[in-house]
Amino acid sequence: MTHRLPSLRGPARALAIAVVAGVFLAPLYWMITMAFKPQAEWNPPGGTIWFPLHATFANFSAILSSSGTSVFEASPTNATGPIEHSVIAATGGTVLALLIGVLAAYGIGRFRAGGRLLPFQVLQLRMFPPVAIIIPLLIMMAYLNLVDTYLGLWLVYAAVTFPFVVWLMRSFFQELPREIGEAAIVDGCTHWGAFFKAILPNVKGGLAATALFVFILNWSDFLIALVLTSQNVVTAPVFLNSLQSAGAGQEYGPQAALGLILVLPPAIFGLLIQRYLVRGLTFGAIKQ
């Protein structure tokens, strides 16, 4: 008989789950409900209101247009600019990471490019927390006149997510029998032809999942954007943070609305690619 690990059953189990879930879900819940609360309900003297009694979209319109309900009208609360910057920065970084990473993954996965060590070296790039190098990075970017530009963000985003692309795509490439590429070659393709016509079409799923994963990382980035942007390409997370310290700091509603907007893409994409990710991350671990 297989051994069973001791585990909680019944009410104790339900309680444990509720506690852990609660810790994670509570802030999310707060934010979602706050996004729909009218100003009167943001912080009423009586205590917190847990569910919006008069739900409204006012916060969304406030955060997305220049005319706000803000008491402190001096500070801008229009988030459409930053959101636009986020989209461009995240997309550009993703495309760049994919361009370099997919080709690298193919070389490493199929042709053992770089020998036995290269895959680990690539992975090591990620082991290094970006926060450790963020100041030198800033100085470097300043030297190159790339601070507060899209190009600067794209380069750093690509560099930081490139190891993920390699890690994920490598296992998707390895999943494909090598004979498919070889069959294409014998059928008359060049190496490039075989790659685009026979290999890539068969990793579409993995490619999409990797792209979305990288996009989520770039979209959610705060630290790099904080350091490398100041005015021109301020991304949405940085903007949201700036609302804290500005006069609009008490405007919970609109901030929550922005937060909700920002959380939507990762949530949706994440659900879509969940299965693919597990496959890509664990596949290389098992020897076929």
Partner: protein, 385 residues
């Protein structure tokens, strides 16, 4: 239609030599099989011919043109891999059309050739489907179609039937033989299955650890093997090898065993077999019979394997285990003492290193066999356990 020739091809992977000095000449339109145990280098050989591997030494020729350095796609050779490698993202039509598109064949012509090939292989109704929706047998035929549609000079097939169940394999063997004849193209066929190697090709090359052992027609490989290894690789149950000793006898080959003596009836030069040298007598199970009368070599039954249509009987002859085939009707019990007879026209003699010294090969009168135990009634030599 291409004549494929290999000249001294050697291929290594790091410290491992996969192919040793292989020289082969495969005629135009020949059905040529490469047979050997797993790891012998058969797939490497095929991949070297098609250009996916480059030999360190030696050359590959197609119609006497040196193709050793030519890119695989330009060699006019088609290969079917053991795992089929169908393009999962393309339909059956797309799979068959792919090589033709690469060759810039006009669209009408592509459609015609794909249709024709699909008809030949009975896969027309599947043209719209993707590989994932096909059964094992259907996929096999699509993979075959992909190599046929190209009308390449030669077709290379790597164990094309190994993934199929017994019934399907039987059908496909017949199909393949018929197709090859119809299409008339050179076919190089790799297998480890000796039934396939016997029944289909014009000639077989037996490969062992990267080196060629014998290249000959299946009949000759079966009846006149060049060595013990070749004799073992074809024929199931495998050939029996009975240790014996050579003796001097004025130019005739004379081999002595505790229970029998063999002598060639014509003079044979066998320098490898000096008097007193150890050797082996080879005889296949189907060429040994249970003696009905009292005549024959004394043996004791060790085990019986009833296969239904025939029974394989394992007997102890001296201190050796020998297998023979008997009719299922025969009542045989374990440890019973019986007498067995060898067919003298099917005897082989191998020297101590396993190389063939003499093969009767089905020819009558090549060898004479005399049992040394006297007939029933006299004291029998005790059969050692």
């Amino acid at each position: 239609m291409a004549r494929i020739r290999l000249d001294g091809v050697t291929k290594s992977f790091g410290a491992v030599t996969a192919l040793r000095d292989i020289s082969l000449d495969i005629a135009d339109g020949e059905f040529f099989a490469i047979l050997g145990p797993p790891g012998a280098g058969k797939t490497t050989l095929l991949r070297t011919i098609v250009g996916l591997e480059t030999p360190e030494q030696g050359d590959v020729f197609a119609d006497e043109q040196r193709i050793t350095d030519v890119f695989p796609g330009d060699r006019n050779l088609a290969i079917m891999f053991q795992n089929l490698a169908l393009y999962p993202d393309k339909s059956v039509f797309g799979n068959l059309a792919f090589p033709l598109k690469r060759a810039k064949v006009p669209r009408q012509e592509i459609r015609r050739r794909v249709q024709e090939t699909a008809e030949k292989l009975h896969i027309e109704p599947l043209l719209g489907r993707k590989p994932a929706k096909l059964s094992g047998g259907e996929r096999q035929r699509v993979a075959l179609g992909r190599v046929l549609v190209r009308e390449a000079g030669a077709l290379l097939l790597d164990e094309p039937l190994s993934a199929l169940d017994a019934m399907l394999r039987l059908e496909m063997r017949v199909e393949l033989k018929r197709l090859q004849r119809e299409v008339g193209r050179t076919l190089i066929y790799v297998t480890h299955d000796q039934v396939e190697a016997m029944s289909m090709p014009d000639r077989v090359a037996v490969l062992r650890e990267g080196a060629l052992q014998q290249v000959d027609s299946p009949e000759n490989i079966y009846h006149r093997p060049a060595s013990r290894f070749v004799a073992t690789v074809i024929g199931s149950p495998p050939m029996n090898f009975i240790p014996a000793v050579a003796e001097a006898s004025n130019g005739h080959l004379r081999v002595v065993h505790e229970q029998f003596v063999m002598e060639s009836t014509a003079p044979v030069t066998a320098q490898r077999l000096a008097p007193g040298a150890p050797c082996f007598v080879g005889i296949r199970p189907e060429d040994i019979q249970v003696a009905v009368g009292g005549d024959g070599l004394a043996a004791r039954i060790y085990a019986t394997e009833p296969l239904g249509g025939e029974t394989v009987v394992d007997v102890r002859l001296g201190d050796r285990l020998v297998k023979l085939i008997a009719s299922p009707a025969l009542q045989l019990s374990i440890d019973a003492e019986i007498r067995i007879q060898f067919d003298p026209s099917r005897l082989h003699v191998f020297d101590g290193d396993g190389m063939t010294v003499l093969s009767a090969g089905g020819a009558q009168g090549v060898m004479r066999l005399e049992s040394r135990s006297r007939s029933v009634g006299d004291t029998d030599r005790p059969v050692g356990q």
